[in-house]
């Protein structure tokens, strides 16, 4: 697993093959099947670790935050840019929910829902952050785009969304 992760982060998903993992460990590929029944289960372990670690990074940014939304956004982007392949594996791919520790997803989401005030708003915030890093990682923005400024605009929009409640409640 440690080897698989190292390979993934260093060379991308294409490098994570049973043969490469075994090579790096100095053993033969078939030996791996004594530890994992197949490749899918190995990838599932990788995704669970990535999810846990990503959640921890967000929570810890939240803990020392003056302005929570800005802090989460900053931590989200930093983590994704520092671990692009692991980020993609856990947030772009389908999750093997049958092989994941129960409750893991919910435990990652919970602290965020507390910040954004509702599940729906948390999903909007997640989608926005995910969209931004996704497009940045695939270099879909034009090369001259000032992404720091785009993130600032995004954070402002999310802050407006979360504070709007009072006015909306009064109107409703």
């Amino acid at each position: 697993m440690a080897t698989a992760r190292r390979l993934l982060e260093a060379e991308g998903p294409g490098a994570v093959t049973m043969r490469r993992i075994a090579d790096e460990m100095g053993i033969r590929a078939p030996s791996l099947y004594k530890h994992y029944p197949d490749k899918r289960s190995l990838e599932a372990a990788l995704k669970a670790e990535g999810l846990r670690e990503f959640g921890a990074a967000l929570s810890s940014a939240l803990a020392k935050a003056g302005s929570p939304i800005g802090a989460i956004a900053g931590a989200y982007r930093s983590y994704a840019l520092e671990h692009p392949h692991l980020y993609r594996l856990t947030n772009d791919d389908e999750l093997p929910r049958d092989l994941l520790p129960p409750g893991l997803e919910e435990s990652v989401a919970a602290p965020l829902i507390a910040v954004f005030g509702s599940r729906d708003k948390t999903r909007v915030a997640w989608a926005l952050a995910h969209g931004l890093v996704s497009l940045e990682l695939s270099r879909r923005f034009p090369p001259d785009a000032d992404l720091a400024r785009v993130w600032q605009a995004a954070v402002r929009a999310l802050e407006a969304m979360t504070t709007k409640e009072l006015g909306a409640a009064r109107r409703g």
Copy 2:
């Protein structure tokens, strides 16, 4: 190209191989290399077509729109859900900018920039829409999430962002 697109949409990117394309056409794989120098150039043609078509779908939704942002959002989601593999190919993958018709990206973006008022805001809107469909297509939201409501919240946030200008200008 038409065959490649049919394969992509029907069976996903894994089915788009030179062999499958040739099989579907009733010819042999090597014959394809008389029409495209390599696979990358064939994929580039596919991406250009997808980009053009997607842009056209958004523009046409805009043309008959009462509320432009809601209309664009609706068209964005519909297109992505109706052509998931083509959408991913053109919005998730890296673009082969060296093989794309010059000006194509800009011509897709231009009508949107007019709606959202600035490049930065357009990028926020794009990221939000892209994040939402991305997470929906990879089934990353919990199965019981009400995505129609999430999209409504997203559209409200974008509308707030685009109308805020006046107040912000007065303050600034």
